[in-house]
């Protein structure tokens, strides 16, 4: 069974009297443990697609099944719960809370999942350890390098054992060397921990780390191919 399945998924925006068809009739299926890169120029609809897949937004038409559950009719709080438990976000700008330690940043999804006390701390420490950030748990984001910050963000995405990691231009703010490190980390997570990774990028080199590349243009999928290794 597919982890992510869309059926004729469409998203329209209404600007005055005009309809902007950001996404039209997208039918796609992503299985568990896949590593998929979504590519396309700006305005191609890939961000809209990400928002829908990430349950940050809801479609205008069609259907989206995440882990077999239809997302389209859920309310705001139900969506928040799905995001908390099914999706780990990694953003371009890291999006860590400022003036908050690495540990507390990683604990955040657990806090909203009502996991308290010792268990919360232990799971967060474990996630940090997995990302090679042992000893950095008390550092605030401004005391960490970009690569370290992004790894804290990845730890935060992993801590709730979400089946899907959604990474939106995760290397956009990093230099080439650090970008490679982070991408290798994703490859390893996909291989060793069977995380399903969906990566949005406009850089071919970054997309090449994945196993499957889906290209968007003008709200449609123009290609969907496996990467030969």
């Amino acid at each position: 069974m597919s982890l992510i399945e869309t059926k004729n998924l469409s998203k329209f925006y209404y600007v005055g009297d005009n309809i902007v068809r950001a996404l039209e009739n997208i039918s796609i299926s992503i299985a568990a443990e896949e590593f998929v890169a979504i590519m396309g120029p700006s305005g191609s609809g890939k961000s809209t697609f990400m928002n829908l897949i990430g349950c940050l937004d809801q479609q205008t038409e069609g259907d989206y099944l995440l882990d077999g559950k239809s997302i389209g009719k859920l309310n705001k709080d139900e969506l928040a719960e799905i995001r908390n438990q099914k999706i780990g976000f990694v953003f371009q700008g890291f999006n860590l809370l400022p003036r908050t330690s690495a540990l507390e940043n990683v604990e955040l999804p657990l806090l909203y999942n009502h996991i308290m006390g010792k268990e919360k701390k232990q799971r967060a420490l474990q996630a940090l350890k997995k990302l090679g950030l042992e000893g950095r748990e008390d550092h605030h984001p401004n005391q960490l390098s970009g690569g370290q910050q992004q790894r804290v963000a990845i730890a935060r995405a992993l801590v709730n054992n979400a089946p899907v990691i959604l990474a939106d231009e995760p290397t956009g703010n990093l230099d080439t060397k650090t970008s490679t490190e982070i991408m290798e980390l994703f490859v390893q997570l996909n291989k060793d921990f069977q995380s399903t990774i969906i990566l949005v990028t406009h850089e071919q080199e970054i997309a090449n780390f994945s196993k499957r590349i889906i290209r968007f243009l003008d709200g449609h999928i123009v290609s969907d191919q496996q990467v030969s290794t």
């Binding site: 928040a80 976000f89 953003f91 999006n95 909203y112």
Partner: protein, 409 residues
Amino acid sequence: MININSTFKIALRALWVNKMRSFLTMLGIIIGVGAVITMLAVGTGASEKISQQIASIGSNLIIVFPGSITQGGVRMGAGSQSTLTIDDAEAIEKECSAVSAVAPVLNTAAQVVYGNQNWATAIFGTTPGILRVKDHELTAGRNFIDQDIRNSTKVAILGQTVVENLFGGMDPIGQIIRIKKVPFTVIGILGPKGQSLMGQDQDDIIYIPVTTAQKKIAGRFVPGMVRSIMVKGRSAEDMPLAEKQVTDLLRQRHRTGLNKEDDFTVRNLTQMMQVAEQAANIMTILLGAIASISLLIGGIGIMNIMLVSVTERTREIGIRMAIGAKTWDIRIQFIIEALTLSLIGGILGIALGITGSSVLSVFTGWTTIVSALSIVLAFGFSGLVGIFFGFYPAYKASRLNPIDALHYE
């Protein structure tokens, strides 16, 4: 909903980041709570003082004065006519059921001499009932007995001020003092009462038997007549009844015709004091209400700064939402932040109010009383202000769209 404890921690941290701003915002609440507590302390102090005075003049007190006389169309003041007698007083005591004690009073001022000391004071010719009427206790010696009244014995009960001025540290009981050159034996000393509402020293007084006063001290006063009759009602509820009974009885005894005016005046002293007390209570409420307005303005300050904070932290809100914060998780976070501001402000305001009340009391000499209730009230109110004015910013935060919030710069 998320853990309240960690939410408080988050709130404290967020407030600590903008120390100066948080303090200035709190200042509104600090001044508001301080003002409420100080104003209530002034009001409570005033009404407490009046209650004490009510207790000191004697509770449930009615004073009957003689009426005025009219001479050739000119009406003289109350008491210009001698219409009240000792017999009237006795009749009131016997026949009025709502009355618990009665004392006729024939008062005058006189020079009192003991040894080489002398002192001008008020002399009250009265009966044993005076102690009960005025709720006056004896600290030493004895009260008059009926025999003293019947035989016009020359005995006296002295107030504290008189004792101090005539005897210094000596024990006055059994000593002989001279009032208008008539020797009196001191048989008792009154407990202290302090000043009356009008600033009169209630301890500067000597009680002697009313009959002795008529014969030896008051001079050419119509025999049997008194200047006033003090009446104590059985209870506060019985006061109107006591007033009516006294009036009816005296009209009957004085054979006043149906349409004729009373030849006496009945004054309910307690009622007058209670009116004063009510006025003080209204003043307390008024002062408190005015002070609450500043607390309310403090609340608006909180709302203002919370709205700024929500805008500044739009991105943080977006991150929290993406990670799984629900509507009420976000709301609670901001409400608790506002609540933390107002409660810390409240605690500091209580300290300010207590200090302010004592400083005010020192500089103005007013009695100020900081009651526990006013502290609880002010603190509770500041909490409510925090929740009330924190709600709208929190509501606004929770309504943000996570996608827009995440991309807010």
